[in-house]
Amino acid sequence: MAELTYREALNQALAEEMARDDSVFLLGEEVAEYDGAYKVSKGLLDQFGDKRVVDTPISELGFTGLGVGAAMVGLRPIVEFMTFNFSILALDQVINSAAKMLHMSNGQIGIPMVFRGPTGAALQLGAQHSQACESWYVHAPGIKLVTPATPSDAKGLLKAAIRDNDPVAVMEGELLYNVKGEVPDDDDFIVPLGVADRKRKGDDVSIITHGRMVHIALQAAGQLAKEGIEADVLDLRSLRPLDVEAILETVSRTHRAVYVEDGFPYVGIGSQIVSILMEEAFDDLDAPVLRVTQADIPMPYNKKLEAWTKPSAGRVVEACKRVLYVD
């Protein structure tokens, strides 16, 4: 174990997997000469050369299509988006090509490909660059999605994504890159896709969440603990495939749940979780499942307004108390 930042853990995963399998290559805007906009690919150009670490023009649809084509002929491309906001330009390649190719080729052509980069709001980047894009990616069948919240999960999930034979999006958090944590040194350390992780144990209320919001949930749980309320914090880690069993397990103990996400509420990830709980855990529920989300408006640029629209520990505490029927 070594203490690494989230950024270093991702870098380590990329380096290890590229060393392990020479069909793996990285492409994206400024990933080579500049070490990546967030320095995730630092040193990789020197280590693996410019055939495997490729700078692209500013043309998301083009280079994502290049990646899909490369995957079709047997390579394992990793496409870095400077942020997932920019990948909206490339969604035709993601949704219509990568996600559907295996089905439309009658199982003949798989797409072992990774899309990665930050998702969610950072600070004062305005409406177009502050979106959580998870819902866009998990809506259509055929693509997997993971959202690591810690350095260890970042390494394990990215390595699992690179080794997976389906297209996998790895959504990172811009505000997580400097978060530090213990990361296993093992070259074969993998966090399997589709397995949630309980980040805190409690029996009073379930806070279910993913990505950066895990940290907001833990803060809220800390505040609740001061009032004698013990929250179970379940980090889904993987939104497709989804660990339904873990969701049902926590709710079967606490009988109440709050979903926290930094995406918009409308048909958000939380909507899917609420739906599953309605269908599978109806008789376990003692209160309606509540969601704490980004406000349903384009992100304001104004700092105070921005803070007001974001999910906060205070709002999570409030929602937990509502499902617990306490003031």
């Binding site: 009988h255 109806f282 008789d283 376990d284 529920l285 003692d286 209160a287 029927y325």
Partner: protein
């Protein structure tokens, strides 16, 4: 075409009603708008009218039986129409109603309804009482899915559990409380007629009004943070004022009581202290621009608070007239819902029963109530001399979420000054 006769919500707070009397029998012709039954609500006895023309084909809830609001209690249809679908469906949904009174209503229900058609309880759960309440249409009991499951597992009847969640939703903690402390389910356990006179107790079944009083006041003293302020008022001048008013009214044959003066003075004092003339609405406080005083009136099996509207703008004689007229109808249970709902503040006076001091329980969402004791001759010190004066003790119960100590005290000081110098009411 058939018309279902529902137990209608005949008072704003009614959750179930008791059929006092059917004014029509099965087989009678009824017309739309015709009064067909008398229903005892939680507040008064009200008339139930037909909502369609035809023959009163079936009465499913007999006299003396209780049914939740929204349940089908009778069917109006053409003489030859097939109504078996309605009567059998209603039987399934109405199990709470019929199980309350057992034989009474079953006797008046058509024979085909005897077959159980409701949800079949599973496992070892006792019959009907556990399965029925959750399925009651219209007057359904709000309970969380978990609470329903726990109640079914333990054979607990949800109808007997008080809900503490939003809008009275029964939640897990309510079931746990009911299981540890037991439920008050008097309607079900009531002994219809005591078998012999040598028993040393009598079980009295709860009237709709008694149930409402129990629920409302338990709701109050639990969550409402009460505190109490007591003040002594010298009533000498008020009694003089009453005497001269009554002298003026003598030839009209009218009279006012001290209580009418207290109502008038309270209204005037509330005008000056709007913070006390308020309702607690959980996420806000509503301060009223008008003053409607609820006056607690004892009736045969409980109490009710008819309301003197705009009491600050009425003369004492008018207030007295209204109170006596409404109190009379309250005792006959003839008050209309709008006559006993919407008070902004209340007064309870037990002086006539020889009580010199007591505390009253707030009627939520109101924020205060005055408990008025009787006027008594007391030795008091005036200018260094002990003299005998007519004194009255007033205790105000305040909801601390709305009224703070100093706020309530200032209101009481104004009220005291008005009663001790009635001319101040006019200022």
């Amino acid at each position: 075409m058939s018309t279902k006769v529902h137990m209608e919500a005949l008072s704003p707070t009614m959750e179930e009603g008791q059929v006092v009397k059917w004014l029509k029998s099965e087989g009678d012709e009824v017309t739309n708008g015709e009064i067909i039954a008398e229903i005892e609500t939680d507040k008064a006895t009200m008339e139930l009218t037909a909502r369609g023309d035809g023959i009163l084909r079936a009465i499913m809830v007999g006299e003396g039986a209780t049914a939740p609001v929204g349940s089908v209690i009778a069917v109006i249809a053409a003489a030859d129409e097939d109504i078996s679908a309605i009567t059998s469906a209603a039987e399934g949904g109405n199990q709470t109603a019929t199980s309350d009174v057992g034989g009474n209503s079953a006797a008046s229900a058509p024979a085909e309804d005897e077959a159980p058609t409701g949800a079949t309880p599973t496992g070892a759960a006792p019959a009907a009482s556990t399965a029925a309440p959750v399925a009651t249409p219209g007057g359904r009991i709000k309970a969380s899915p978990l609470a329903k499951r726990l109640a079914a597992d333990s054979g607990l009847d949800l109808a007997a559990v008080l809900g503490s969640g939003p809008a009275g939703r029964i939640v897990k903690r309510d079931i746990e409380l009911a299981l540890t402390e037991g439920v008050a389910s008097p309607a079900r356990t009531a002994v219809a007629s005591p078998p012999a006179s040598d028993v040393d107790y009598e079980d009295v079944s709860l009237s709709q009004m008694r149930k409402t009083i129990a629920r409302r006041l338990a709701e109050s003293i639990g969550p409402v943070p009460h505190f109490f302020l007591t003040i002594d008022v010298d009533m000498g001048r008020a009694m003089e004022a009453r005497r001269s008013i009554n002298a003026m009214l003598e030839k009209e044959g009218r009279k006012v009581s001290l209580n009418d003066l207290i109502i008038r003075a309270t209204a005037a004092a509330l005008r000056r202290h709007p913070a006390c003339n308020a309702h607690w609405l959980v996420d806000s406080i509503r301060r009223f621009n008008r003053v409607h005083i609820g006056v607690a009136v004892a009736v045969e099996d409980g109490l009710i608070t008819p309301i003197v509207r705009d009491a600050d703008a009425k003369g004492v004689a008018q207030i007295g007239g209204e109170v006596r007229e409404m109190a009379g109808r309250a005792r006959e249970k003839k008050l209309k819902p709008e006559e006993y709902t919407g008070a902004t503040f209340s007064i309870s006076n037990l002086g006539m029963f020889g009580i010199h001091e007591f505390t009253a329980v707030i009627n939520p969402p109101e924020a205060g109530i005055l408990a008025i004791g009787g006027v008594e001759k007391k030795p008091v010190v005036v200018d260094g001399e002990v003299v005998v004066r007519n004194r009255m003790r007033v205790t105000m119960s305040c909801d601390h979420r709305v009224i703070d100590g100093a706020t309530g005290a200032a209101f009481l000081a104004t009220l005291k000054s008005m009663l001790e110098e009635p001319a101040a009411i006019l200022v």
